[in-house]
Amino acid sequence: MKPRNILFLIAYAIALTGISLWIGQVSYSWFPPQASAESVLIDKLFAFLVTIGAFIFLGITGVMIYSVVFQRAAKYDFSDGPHIEGNVTLEIVWTAIPILLVFWLAGYSYQIYQQMAIRGPMEVMHLGMGHGDTPTVVEEQSIEEIEVISKQWAWVFRYPGSNVTSTELHLPANRRIRLALQSEDVLHGFYIPAFRLKQDIVPNKTTDFEFTPIREGTYRLRDSQFSGTYFATMQANVVVESPEAYENWLSEAKKRQPLPAYNQAASEYTQQTSKTGWPTVVPAAPPVVNYPT
């Protein structure tokens, strides 16, 4: 290889690296706010993958675009290019590098997943790795247990410690939360984009799910597994507040009489005056809870 070409290659690699690192940093801005300890880990992994991905994408397409611009056949040039059937060294290199890269990416993702320790269905299977794992993101402390009941198309949250029910999920900040996810009919998915966390809920099975909210504010919980006609309406507010405000809310809610909550699916179904659509599963009656929203 000529020195000029080597210099060009080095310059290309440096430019690519710079651009890729920059895109990796920009990628943090593509997400909702980081409202859970896990989201910090996931965004870090994603930014790393974006950096590698940008390097690969720009590197390869850059070569292609160079070819397309500078290596065109002249209008009346009907000759062939050089007869090159392959190059063993090159082929070994471009097989070995992806193999190493794959193990690196898988290893890194594995570490991040271990640190998240979100549990999920592993306890049910009694086969799980990471039994007794403690999340390394926050030090071990008291765990707040909440039951989540999903049905077509409503979320109900039950706080077993104080026997409060709500259609709004209140969580104390900076404490480990353990949810017991349940479904009364079909598959649903528990998903809070600001937490970057998702877990499908299988009927007749209680799935444990753990995470740590770290940022006060109001977020959205959505059903992430298609659950039928009013799937898109199955949302709830998630309020992350200071532990004191959370305790106040619990004792306040406990005093209230249970009342029916507003339910978008049920109200859309009853307000439907003209029958335009096809027959649908009838939405469950609006849940009756201490803290309806």
Binding site: G86, V124, V202, N204, R220
Partner: protein
Amino acid sequence: MTDSQVKNTNIITESYQDLSARDWRRYFSFSTDHKVIGIQYLVTAFIFFLVGGIFAMVIRGELITPEADLIDRTFYNGMFTMHGTIMLFLWTFPSLVGLSNYLVPIMIGAKDMAFPRLNAAAFWMVPVVGVLMIASFFVPSGSAQAGWWSYPPVSLQNPTGQLITGQFLWILAVAISGVSSIMGAVNFVTTIVKMRAPGMTFFRMPAFVWTVLSAQIIQLFGLPALTAGAVMLLFDLTVGTSFFDPSKGGNPILFQHLFWFYSHPAVYVIILPIFGIFSEIFPVYSRKPLFGYKVVAISSLIIAGVSGLVWVHHMYASGTPGWMRMIFMLSTMCVSVPTGIKVFAWVATIWGGKLRLNTPMLFALGALIMFIFAGVTGIMLSAVPVDIHVNNTYFVVGHFHYVLYGTVTMGMYAAIYHWFPKMTGRMYYESWGQVHFWLAFIGTNLNFLPMHPLGLQGMLRRVASYDPEYTFWNVVASLGAFLLGMSTLPFIVNMVSSWIQGPIAPSNPWRAIGLEWLVSSPPPIENFEDLPVVISEPYGYGKSDPLVSNLEGIIGHSE
């Protein structure tokens, strides 16, 4: 080179006496000619592509505003279910089977497929599948509304209580489509293994044939799982068994395993022939041999093998324990190794060549760029922590549309333009092709790139309404979708008018190397007068070795 070019041109323009090969009525009959069947598949599939495309535009019309205001929610759910189903089972699969049907026997020097009548029977099941799917819109329950995955228990919910529901017809149609595909797979594998011409060793087969072989092997090991799942679902739905119904003790996760055990490899059934198309087109328009041909050929088989070990990555967020998530993360990432080898090989093929940007080359280049993008997002999705966030969001929708439109459909267009002169004996109009490419390329990116930020922000797939914060990117995506819909118009105009009155095509308009380019355009009914005797490896660009030793005998029209 130029001499043989001129000679070939003469042969075709005046010598084609066998007019029956041009008789349009053959395309509407039960023909056993693999070329007729190939075109029947392609045209039928394209009609359903337009139907699925109209559904897509209805979906994007609904999503241009946050509220569910254009169509009823039930109808919206039917739209995305049928869009996905039709695009997969009635566009990508049959169109690729059609292309393979047309090309494989000629490329390996055979006079037809191994089982011509089985071939025709497999084709004629496709319209049956299509009629069942369309009919499902007219039963009282409406069409299937559980998504193309048809996960139970949603797919088992039957508000009308009737037996013949949209979901029932859907399962029936998918099962028939599976039977058709298995018949096709048996035929292809047998043809490729047993019917190669003298001298056509495995390592002299064009890379396209390798990819078809790999893809059809996947059909053979994968489809039984899907068919079993479909039959069990049908029983749950109709006669009250409880394989998957949790309210009666069934296991809905089992269905997901059966479904994805086939439906993930199915992606490779679709993408592998497209890889084959890339491997055929890049050498022709770069005037260089396919770089690392043998490795590219073998990596198709490796992809087919690995594809059977990655299905759980669709179920990371489902009832999947942590250890299983980790194993399938590693196996999924491994797919990128043989795929990466191919990508590097194509780029090395182009590099230093003498490029000519005809429409097929433009489509192939555009498709390759979008495939690399889809590969990058695919690696992100394989990483469990990232997938826990973006699973079932528009990030996934964007990713697989870059695969299925950006790569597969664009690659399919590249193939149609490239082999159009061979199939019809007419040249297409180049300027219309260029217009089509730019509209499709811009439309695809405008449509599917915005889905990535939407997914990262948390917008879920299959929603008929969404929070107003997602409006901007949805409007962009919808405008892109309408542009993409319009981009098919120049294609249709070009194909129809060229087929009727385009300039007569020579046998080898692209100066390409391959058995299909030695025979006339369109080829005679049994392709070759005498079976070709192959004496060189494929892709002899930059050399002047003849491909066969009996050129005169093949063509059978002595001058």
